[in-house]
Each structure stands twice: as structure tokens, then as C-alpha cells.
């Protein structure tokens, strides 16, 4: 579903250039989740931006569902995203129903309304509240709503950038369960970017450790947690509480 092939990304040119990613390769199959971990500056966010199609790689290629990611107005992308701060992902002026229904703009009105209600119920939000604005909801509820919005686009690939870091522990567990259920139902591939290894444990099939733009380790999640191969991975594990 997602192919990242020898991808490099460089900002600036000549001696001042910053290499954000260097020779990164991996694939994620439909229905599977790959977690990308690493500290700030490791290149996690850059990788996310390349896969979403916000930027182009300097070298190598990114393929989502067999084609380079493209942003087209009017049609929902095959890649949808859930970010750390849901309040920034939803328009404060639009009702949550309108935000969730936006990717369905081409559908008949009645069908759109029905689908929005379905999606809200799926993420555990009372569909009767579809007319309310984001300010009426808590952080955990907003994260559910932004997931509903991502699912409305029927993504083949879901990018989750720190989806739980801004949430309380009890709410984190709800979002983790929701992601597991949604993936089991829709079969999208998932790329999870986070520094929280406990969340990785709960969600990921494979773990990829990035450091300074390079892949330090890429393994099955069970193997990674049982015996991390790289020194750096062991450091990351030791730093997790």
C-alpha cells in the first residue's frame, strides 16, 4: 500500500544543506501498522509530509496505492491524517458534522448526512451533536471527531502523527482501541509517528527507528520490544516510562 524507496530529503543547497532524510526505504501493507519512532529532529515529521504529498523527496520515490501522492482539490486523498492537536485540524467555525462530511461533498445530501451520523456513532460521538462546533467538545472527543473525518475519506493509508500525546491516559486508551477497531474494519495501512513506545506496543506490527534522517533499525514489533538490536533503540526503550 505504501512504498518508500530510498528516499532522501534535503533542505537548502551546497554546504548549508540540511539532510532531513537519507536513504530511507520501507513498505507498509494494507491492514498493517508501521510505527516510526525517534527523537526530535530525527526526520519523522519530514517523512510524514513526504508521504502526505505536502512536499517532494529530493531523491528516491514514495508510492501510495501504486502512485506518487498527489493533492487534488475536490477529491479526498487516498491518504488521510490524524494529528496531535485535533483542535487545529478542525475548523472552529464549522459544525463538526460539516467538517466530517467535507470529504463526502460529491455525495447526495441525504447520503452524506447518513454517513456522517454513522461515522460519528462509530467513534462514539452522539450523532445528534453533529450541529455543534468544536469548542463544545473535550480534547478526547475532538480527537475522535478528527478520526471520523479522516475515515470519511475512505483512506487507503492513515497517517497518525502523535495521535494520543495531547490526551489524558484514560482517553489515550479509548483512541488506541478506536484505531484498532477502525483498521480491522476498513483495512487501511497505517503509519504511526510517535515518541511514545507504549502506544507503539499497542498499535504497531513493525517498528522503524529513525535517527538523524537514517534508519537505525526496522523490525517486527515483538522482536523489537523483546530484544532491540541497535544501541540507540535500547536507549529509547530505557527512556520510556
Amino acid at each position: 500500500m505504501l512504498v518508500v524507496d530510498d528516499v532522501g530529503k534535503r533542505y537548502g543547497s551546497g554546504a548549508d544543506a540540511t539532510v532531513a532524510l537519507d536513504g530511507v526505504s520501507f513498505t507498509v501493507a494494507a491492514g498493517a501498522t508501521l510505527a516510526v519512532v525517534g527523537e526530535s529532529g530525527a526526520g519523522k515529521s519530514t517523512l510524514g509530509r513526504l508521504i502526505a504529498g505536502f512536499e517532494l523527496p529530493t531523491s528516491g520515490r514514495v508510492l501510495v496505492d501504486g502512485a506518487p501522492p498527489r493533492l487534488r482539490s475536490g477529491a479526498p486523498s487516498v491518504t488521510q491524517a490524524v494529528f496531535q492537536h485535533p483542535s487545529e485540524a478542525l475548523s472552529p467555525l464549522a459544525s463538526i458534522g460539516a467538517s466530517v462530511g467535507e470529504p463526502l461533498a460529491r455525495r447526495p445530501r441525504k447520503e452524506r448526512k447518513r454517513r456522517v451520523a454513522e461515522l460519528l456513532e462509530l467513534v462514539g460521538i452522539d450523532a445528534r451533536r453533529a450541529g455543534e462546533r468544536p469548542s463544545a467538545f473535550s480534547g478526547g472527543q475532538l480527537q475522535r471527531i478528527s478520526l471520523a473525518r479522516a475515515l470519511a475519506g475512505e483512506p487507503r493509508l492513515l497517517l497518525c502523527d502523535e495521535p494520543t500525546s495531547a490526551l489524558d491516559v484514560s482517553v489515550q486508551a479509548q483512541i488506541v482501541n478506536l484505531l484498532l477497531d477502525a483498521q480491522a474494519q476498513s483495512g487501511f495501512a497505517c503509519l504511526l509517528v510517535t515518541h511514545d513506545l507504549a502506544i507503539v506496543r499497542s498499535l504497531a506490527d513493525e517498528v522503524l527507528v529513525l535517527r538523524g534522517g537514517r534508519v537505525v533499525e526496522h523490525r517486527d514489533a515483538d522482536d523489537f520490544f523483546a530484544s532491540p538490536a541497535a544501541d540507540y533503540s535500547r536507549e529509547l526503550l530505557a527512556a520510556s516510562v
Binding site: 526530535s40 489515550q172 488506541v176 515518541h195 507504549a198 506496543r201 499497542s202 529509547l236 526503550l237 527512556a239
Partner: protein, 341 residues
């Protein structure tokens, strides 16, 4: 962790509004922190952790009022007095490391000048003394070249660097109590560990009492000596951190521990969740605020608000667990009492 109490809270309350519209947000917090010890205050969003600490600091937002008292190194301070009257304590006896220290730094003043400004203006030390204290603290918080750091402006610092500068700044006046609010929620895991280790080391060395406000149980388990668990504006359980985290008594503390994602979990297994949502201040009835979500709820819980009770080293505000504890081991609890006296 032994030693004199550096900070004690007595029946600290925070209210909003007046007359019929009066609403209590924090319902009488009692807490003691020993000099050199780290006390964790854990709870979820809206539990009242930050409000309680802001009441202590005299930094409540407009429209909120505090009552109760604090004891700060033997000095009793009434929290019902206007906060402005207590302002002298702030930055001298009490210091705060806010959630986002970068926002606290003045963008147009060099780091070094900001570090010493407070103590010099209050004539707590001479500029030269303050400067050497600041340099020493900067190297303690992990800067290898403090002389260079003091000449920088805040925009030249990374997130982790501003966090460390914020800690150094709070410590310059040698406060009796350091309040650290949701430290490092924006930081990488390893940086977070580094910064908290640092705070703990400095606290031990300088006999500073630290209150660590956090929603992260793992963090609290790792760095705190004692912990208080807050729910809906009350302490539901308190005691030694290891006991409260590993062998929690109150059903809410038990649930919090159960829902936390763990490294030892099975891959892609669903996590336990707490049903329902925390109550809003206006929806709390007469009974236990956790009753609507509690797996062990009984009719009494919905009628009578439980008080902190049970073993004095680990009291919990729960009718059910306290009754169970009493019936299970009345004698041994009595002996524990006797032993303490």
C-alpha cells in the same frame, strides 16, 4: 524523604462566582511535602491539579477565588487574602516551572539578564553573586558552556534548552518550594527523563521541596517520593509513590493504572478503558464523584461523599475499600497506628 515539612496545604478550595451561581472547583485539598522530596500530583484534565497549584502560588485566573491556607517553612499564609498581598512569596519562597517555559522568557532580553533580574531587583543578592549562581545552575542543568548560553536570546534556544533555562531561572532565588507543571509534555522521552532526574538531584542537594503536576503515572512512579491522585477536585488517594502506583486502593487509581498503555502489553490487544467521562463541576452530586464510573459502586456511594480514610500511610476516599480494609484486618491496622506513635 524524612525531614521537615517545607509546604503544607490546609483545606485549599477554589471557587468561581458568588451567591447562587457559586461553584466550587477544588474541594478542600490537604497535602504536605517534605524538604528535598518530590511529591507528584496526578490527575486528568479538569481534575483541579493546575488550579490547586495556582491557588498556592496566588496566580489564579481572574474570577476564581481561593480559600484555605498554606504553611511555608513554618509561616502560615491565608489563601483567602488577596493574591497581591502574597506576591512577595512568589519567586522567592515559591517558584514555578510552567508547562511552556519558552513562553515565560522575554524574547528581547538575553538569557543571562533574565536569570538574574528577579533576585537583583529584589535585592536578594548582588549582581555578581546572582550571576555566578546563574552560571552554576546552567551548568547543573546540563549546559556545557553556560558562558555562551547567558549571551543568547530566547529564540536561539531549542525547546529542550528553554525548558532547562526555565528550571534554572526558577531555582536562582533558592526557593523553598518548586512547582513543576506538566513538565516536558512537549519533550522527547529521553529529554524528559533527563530533565526530571536533574530536578530531583537539585532538589535533594538544595533541600527544595518539589511538587510535580502531571497526568503521566509512569513519570510520577519514576520520580516522586509521594503522590496524591486527584479526581474532580478532590484527593482520592495519597501515599508513598511506589505503593499508590503499584498497589492502588481507590477504584479510580486502580483504573488509571489499568488503562495506561504498557510496553509489556500484547501486540494489538485492545486496552482497558474507564467507562464514561469525568464529571463537570456543576454535575457533581452529593455522593462520590467517581460513583457513576466506578465498578465497585454501592448505594451509599451515590448519597454520601467519602472522606480520605483507611491506613494513614495510604488513605483513600472510598467507602467500599475502606470498609473492606477495616473488616479484613482491624487488628493489624490498630497495631500500625500504635507502632507509629
Amino acid at each position: 524523604m524524612s525531614g521537615e515539612t517545607a509546604l503544607a496545604l490546609h483545606d485549599v478550595r477554589v471557587t468561581r462566582g458568588c451567591g447562587d451561581g457559586r461553584l466550587e472547583l477544588v474541594h478542600g485539598i490537604d497535602l504536605a511535602v517534605a524538604a528535598g522530596a518530590v511529591c507528584g500530583v496526578v490527575g486528568e484534565t479538569g481534575a483541579g491539579k493546575t488550579l490547586t497549584m495556582r491557588a498556592v502560588l496566588g496566580l489564579l485566573p481572574r474570577g476564581l477565588e481561593s480559600s484555605g491556607a498554606i504553611e511555608l517553612g513554618g509561616q502560615r499564609v491565608d489563601l483567602a487574602t488577596p493574591a497581591i498581598a502574597r506576591r512577595a512569596l512568589l519567586g522567592r519562597e515559591l517558584a514555578l516551572v510552567p508547562q511552556n517555559p519558552a513562553a515565560m522568557l522575554d524574547p528581547v532580553v538575553r538569557v543571562g539578564d533574565q536569570l538574574v533580574e528577579g533576585v537583583v531587583r529584589r535585592r536578594m543578592s548582588t549582581p555578581a553573586e546572582a550571576r555566578s549562581r546563574a552560571l552554576e545552575l546552567l551548568s547543573q542543568v546540563g549546559f556545557r558552556d553556560p558562558e555562551r548560553i547567558v549571551r543568547l536570546h530566547p529564540h536561539q534556544l531549542s525547546g529542550g534548552m528553554s525548558q532547562r533555562v526555565g528550571i534554572a531561572m526558577a531555582l536562582v532565588p533558592r526557593p523553598r518550594v518548586l512547582i513543576v507543571d506538566e513538565p516536558t509534555s512537549a519533550l522527547d522521552a529521553h529529554l524528559r527523563i533527563e530533565i526530571l532526574s536533574l530536578i530531583r538531584t537539585i532538589a535533594r542537594a538544595e533541600r527544595t521541596a518539589v511538587v510535580l503536576v502531571s497526568h503521566d503515572l509512569g513519570l510520577v512512579a519514576r520520580f516522586c517520593d509521594t503522590v496524591a491522585v486527584l479526581y474532580a477536585g478532590t484527593i482520592v488517594e495519597s501515599g508513598p509513590a511506589a505503593a499508590v502506583i503499584e498497589r492502588p486502593r481507590h477504584p479510580y487509581a486502580v483504573a488509571l493504572r489499568a488503562v495506561a498503555p504498557r510496553l509489556t502489553a500484547t501486540r494489538r490487544a485492545r486496552l482497558t478503558t474507564i467507562p464514561g467521562v469525568p464529571p463537570t463541576p456543576d454535575s457533581i452530586g452529593a455522593g462520590c464523584p467517581f460513583a457513576p464510573r466506578c465498578p465497585r459502586v454501592e448505594p451509599l456511594c451515590r448519597e454520601l461523599r467519602p472522606a480520605l480514610a483507611g491506613p494513614p500511610q495510604q488513605p483513600a476516599a472510598c467507602h467500599v475499600v475502606n470498609r473492606a480494609a477495616r473488616s479484613r484486618a482491624p487488628r493489624s491496622t490498630g497495631e500500625a497506628h500504635a507502632g507509629r506513635r
